[in-house]
């Protein structure tokens, strides 16, 4: 489990996190998500453009392709800050998952795609699931060989950012195994049905009807999607763990602020020991989770082939902590915690969606069990 790299942020990571916090607090506080929700939008291209400008889209892109190549722990620091204010952006889909996938492939086309991600020229969505639960192997999609290429038919569901992404990354069974395709979302035969989730982000349903794909659309080798997809999924899970840990910390900060401000029985409710103990318990859980998510980033950076346990640990732990944070947030806010006027509901909804995406607590806890031999 241990990595030689320290479980404290490096100076670069601290600077990155601080600048992200400063930027997001003014450019994308929770009220920004509220505004998008009220306007019925699940993507803000202007905000994403600013994030690109700050170099975030290239955090995992090699310097040769114009990226900063800061590693997964740094990407996690950004995701954590985004979680704190519930930023809705294609950061995870494009800058983490797609970028990690593309880095597994050493060809010019993948390099070019990485460059375009870093410069904000393209966004991606990951199309893996076909049912409500994360199950990347369970696919009924068909990739029928035809000539030098394939014809894709099937349906992908809960494709986060799938309603607006420029490109789609998705596996389909192709004979001996799964093949990973990297397609323009505008390819003939693809129908996109954007569906706002409860957290106001997009989880589109995609239909593929006899979609033509050539060898040039295959990322990595035919029948070997897993080589490319597995690291990308782990990267996404780890960053989502960070985002989830960040939203837990954000919800907790909001709650602790309320405990100091709200008065009942002639004093701030934070004076009541029962609430103090609950707050202390929540804080302890966020501390534990902070260790798990930082460790996952370190492992992805230092020993990616053995990072699965660390990643599942982080995702499982962050999911549980976020659930506690939003439940306690609503409870300790009393009635107003349940009102739309208050932001806690946004945290609760994001926590619920993040809990499911890329594998829920039970999925990752079972992964931990498997990797630990039971």
């Amino acid at each position: 489990m241990s990595a030689m790299a320290k479980l404290v942020p490096t100076e670069d990571e601290t600077l990155l996190g601080d600048s992200a916090r400063g930027f997001l607090d003014s450019a994308a506080p929770v009220s920004h998500l509220r505004g998008m929700r009220d306007a019925g939008r699940s993507h803000d291209p202007d905000l994403w453009a600013k994030m690109v400008e700050m170099g975030w889209a290239g955090v995992l892109v090699p310097e040769a392709q114009g990226g900063a190549d800061m590693g997964h722990a740094a990407a996690g620091a950004l995701a954590g800050e985004m979680g704190r204010t519930l930023v809705a952006s294609p950061f995870l889909s494009a800058a983490v998952i797609a970028a990690t996938a593309l880095r597994q492939v050493a060809d010019g086309r993948a390099g070019e795609a990485l460059r375009r991600i870093a410069e904000g020229g393209v966004t991606y969505a990951l199309a893996v699931d076909e049912g409500p639960k994360f199950a990347p192997e369970a696919t009924a999609m068909q990739a029928r060989p035809e000539g030098n290429g394939f014809r894709l038919t099937g349906e992908k569901r809960f494709v986060v950012d799938g309603g607006f992404a420029d490109r789609l990354l998705g596996p389909a069974p192709s004979g001996e195994g799964l093949t990973l395709f990297d397609l323009s979302a505008e390819r003939a035969g693809i129908t996109r049905d954007p569906r706002p989730m409860i957290d106001s982000r997009d989880a589109a349903r995609l239909r593929f009807e006899d979609v033509e794909a050539t060898g040039a659309d295959v990322l990595g080798a035919v029948d070997e999607a897993v080589t490319v997809l597995a690291p990308a999924l782990r990267a996404g899970q780890a960053a989502l763990g960070d985002e989830t840990a960040g939203l837990a910390a954000g919800a907790m900060a909001m709650t602790v602020g309320y405990l100091k401000e709200r008065r009942q029985f002639g004093m701030p409710i934070g004076n009541f020991q029962a609430l103090q103990f609950r707050a202390a318990h929540l804080w302890s859980e966020t501390e534990l989770t902070a260790s798990a998510v930082l460790h996952a980033g370190r492992m992805l950076d230092s020993d990616p082939d053995n990072a699965a346990l660390a990643v599942s640990l982080a995702k499982a732990r962050a999911t549980e902590t976020a659930q506690l944070a939003v439940q306690e947030g609503v409870q300790m806010h009393g009635g107003i915690g349940m009102t739309d006027d208050f932001d806690m509901g946004f945290y609760m909804k994001r926590a619920r969606v993040a809990a499911e995406w890329l594998g829920d607590y039970a999925y990752h806890a079972e992964e931990v069990a498997r990797l630990r031999g039971f």
Partner: protein, 324 residues
């Protein structure tokens, strides 16, 4: 991102590996965590085997019983990176710890921070060599959570204090050579003031102990009684009546203490695997769900101890976690 690859560390690891190969007896490579196999040291220690004795002597000579303490006081002066490597290499060959003690975990750090140079040179090396076994006298029957409410008194008699009172939960007091204890030396001061951190030889006239039986049947715990025990004035750590600062320091820095023990939960076998070996039905939902949660939580706890040790080394206190 690419840390820990310095040549010096690689060399340290290689040398350490050779040394361990040469000096760690085969019997000491069973990674025993059983209480019965722990070497506590002390005046009356009975080594369970020649191997246990040899292993302690070899480590003590290199300073490996207290690897991060300065060489001057019996340690090996390891950096945190070296220490990490030390624990990794020890774990690799499943080596037992050569010595464990409250002297290592608690008194040592307190002396390193608050002790005079003379005290460090006098008290630390015997701890490192396992010659003196210490116990801790904090809690009292009337002062558990409310530790600062303690009533054991030290009367100022010029060149010594006369200590009278009772401590409880003094682990292994009946086998310890010396005790470090919190004693009220100023009964006029507010309760957090007026407490001194005193060192006492357990063979001093007036000290007696009585084991406490736990519900499990056995117990490391004792009650310890002080009846007009004379304690020379130079056996105080820190300033008179400022013992609370020493106690607080130890509590606040317990994370590095815990980190230094190298006994991180989750580094051992998985709970679920152990249960399955015992014949438990790991397909049974309630048991499995509980085992999963414990496994996730204990691994995360281990990582947190590691992170706290890293933070301590980086000079960071436990603060609001990032991001928040």
């Amino acid at each position: 991102m690419q840390t820990g690859k310095s040549d010096a560390l690689l060399r340290f690891r290689a040398e350490l590996r050779d040394w361990l190969e040469a000096h760690c007896p085969a019997e000491m490579r069973d990674g025993a965590r059983d209480e019965a196999h722990i070497c506590w040291g002390g005046r009356n220690w009975q080594f369970e085997s020649q191997a246990q004795e040899d292993w302690l002597r070899a480590c003590a000579e290199k300073g490996y019983t207290v690897p991060t303490w300065p060489r001057a006081y019996g340690g090996a002066g390891l950096s945190r990176d070296e220490e990490r490597i030390f624990h990794e290499e020890m774990d690799r060959i499943n080596a037992r710890k050569p010595l464990q003690s409250f002297g290592i975990w608690m008194l040592g750090p307190a002396l390193l921070h608050f002790g005079s140079e003379a005290q460090k040179r006098h008290y630390l090396p015997p701890i490192a060599r396992g010659e003196i076994r210490w116990c801790q006298g904090y809690s009292e029957p009337g002062a558990g959570s409310d530790l600062a409410g303690l009533q054991t008194r030290g009367e100022d008699c010029g060149d010594h204090w006369k200590v009278t009172g009772q401590k409880v939960w003094t682990s292994y007091a009946d086998r310890a050579d010396w005790i470090f204890a919190l004693v009220r030396t100023d009964s006029e001061a507010p309760k957090h003031k007026g407490i001194s951190f005193l060192l006492m030889d357990m063979t001093s006239p007036g000290i007696s102990t009585r084991p406490i039986r736990l519900i499990s049947g056995k117990s490391p715990f004792c009650e310890t009684f002080f009846d007009a025990v004379e304690v020379p004035k130079d056996q105080i750590v820190g300033k008179e009546s400022r013992g609370w600062d020493v106690a607080k320091y130890l509590l606040t820095h317990e994370r590095s203490v815990i980190g230094a023990t190298g006994q991180m939960p989750g580094t051992g076998r998985a709970l679920g695997a152990m249960l399955a070996d015992e014949g438990a039905d790991m397909g049974e939902a309630t048991l499995r769900a509980r085992a999963l949660k414990l496994e996730v939580d204990s691994l995360t706890m281990g990582l947190t101890l590691e992170r706290y040790a890293d933070m301590a080394e980086a000079g960071q206190g436990v603060a609001t976690p990032r991001p928040c």
